[in-house]
């Protein structure tokens, strides 16, 4: 007996009817990992699979799609979480079941629970911070709510001039940083050695850590390390929360400055280093730092000039004083005050005992010379009772 068959479309219609009976008009919140993400921003569509794993074994998988009306949810997700909507992320989303005779079974995604993802991210971040604290207590401590790392407590050199720059080649961050240094209004010079690498994406944390190793082992000496990025989308900062990278920064022997253009919140790398929001701000901090050194030099110079001035004035005063004393002690000054000089035989007499009656002597007053003969002498015990 020949086999009785029905057209495929008939069966498919039955399946469709059954599915619609069960799922028509209903939506469900599901938690799953997104994989095979293909975004078409121009068409405002995104195709992907929702997958669930248990102990690395796949338990479920469904083809899924964001249509144009739901596409803004992806953009909102990226803006809010600071990470791109890409493979491997766990999300919670609201879906409807849809069956198409040609394309088969699909889930249409209408909404993403962004708060859930943010909570997950914050949880992961906190776990990383706790691990950094627990496993690296020699490098990292939490003091009154502030993360103190060995690195961000390193004293800065008096002048920051030799800089190791970690950035992406040709990036806006690289350009902004170098231009800010080059155009500084004080005319300071900087020696920048670039360590170029990718600083976005899954490999970024490992690549940045490798650059830090290169800097640490370089024969060149550096005053500071700058890690900058900028110009890209406000997403993909996750590499700066990576445990190994943050640990490398926390224990790095040269002060590290971050300018990674993060307007959402601080990454863990920011907490372990010295954070400036943008590449330009890192560069201008270096300029200001050197300017404050130069101000100290100028202040010392001012003090020196004042001290020298004081010293010279004091010396001049001393000299004047000495001149006055010399003048007062001069014979002319003494004679003007009414004293006289007595000479016998041309010699000045300083001992009255050398004068005898009948001696011929000369008495010199201010303008006159008196010649006389001594007639007699007597004692006067109070000669200044004038």
């Amino acid at each position: 007996m020949p086999i009785q068959s029905i057209p495929l479309s008939y069966l498919v219609e039955q399946i469709q009817a059954t599915i619609e009976d069960s799922f028509e008009g209903q939506s469900y919140w599901v938690s799953a990992r997104i994989m095979n993400v293909k975004k078409y921003p121009a068409n405002r569509r995104c195709y992907l699979t929702l997958e669930e794993y248990e102990n690395k074994e796949k338990k479920a998988e469904m083809r899924s799609v964001f249509w144009a009306t739901a596409y803004p949810q992806i953009e909102k997700f990226e803006r809010s979480t600071g990470q791109p909507f890409r493979d491997g992320i766990e999300i919670t989303c609201r879906v409807k079941v849809r069956f198409h005779a040609v394309y088969g079974l699909n889930l249409d995604i209408y909404e993403i629970d962004i708060a859930h993802t943010l909570g997950q991210l914050e949880l992961e971040r906190q776990q990383t911070l706790d691990r950094l604290l627990n496993e690296n207590s020699e490098y990292i401590q939490l003091v009154e709510g502030v993360y103190h790392s060995y690195n961000n407590r390193l004293p800065l050199p008096a002048v920051i001039q030799h800089i190791a720059l970690i950035t992406a080649p040709g990036s806006d961050g690289q350009r902004d940083f170098l231009q800010e240094l080059a155009r500084n209004r004080h005319g300071y010079s900087f020696v920048v050695t670039e360590f170029l690498t990718t600083i976005q994406g899954e490999q970024a944390s490992r690549l940045i850590a490798e650059q830090l190793t290169l800097i640490r082992t370089s024969p060149q000496r550096f005053d500071a390390v700058a890690i900058v990025r900028g110009g890209g989308a406000q997403t993909d900062f996750k590499c700066f929360d990576d445990y190994a990278l943050c640990r490398a920064i926390a224990s790095f022997p040269v002060p590290v400055f971050t300018g990674i253009g993060h307007d959402r919140n601080q990454s863990i790398a920011d907490l372990m280093a010295r954070e400036q929001k943008t590449p330009t701000k890192v560069a201008s901090l270096f300029v200001d730092h050197n300017n404050s050194f130069e101000n100290k030099l100028m202040a010392a110079r001012e003090r020196m000039l004042k001290a020298v001035q004081r010293r010279l004035t004091a010396a001049a005063n001393q000299l004047q004083q000495a001149q006055r004393i010399v003048k007062l002690a001069s014979p002319e000054a003494i004679l003007r005050r009414g004293f006289a000089i007595i000479r016998i035989n041309g010699k000045i007499v300083t001992d009255p005992a050398a004068i005898h009656p009948q001696d011929s002597m000369e008495t010199q007053l201010q303008n006159e010379m008196i010649e006389s003969i001594v007639t007699h002498k007597r004692n006067d015990n109070n000669p200044y009772n004038l």
Binding site: P157, G187, S189, F190, V191, L297, A300, M304
Partner: protein, 68 residues
Amino acid sequence: MTTTPITYSQALEALERVVRELEDGALPLEQLPEKINEANALLALCNENLRTISSAVQNAITGNPATE
């Protein structure tokens, strides 16, 4: 670290030491010129080093290796 024989912080320390000596007033007058010359030399050294490393940033911008 710098390429100068003494570091910037050593230069500042030396300068401040000279200034303290001058402020102290105990220095014989005839040593004043020597001390002023010493301070001026330190100032000139710092000033020069802060500004005249051969345009290393420009080199970085144009892709040439930065040299000291």
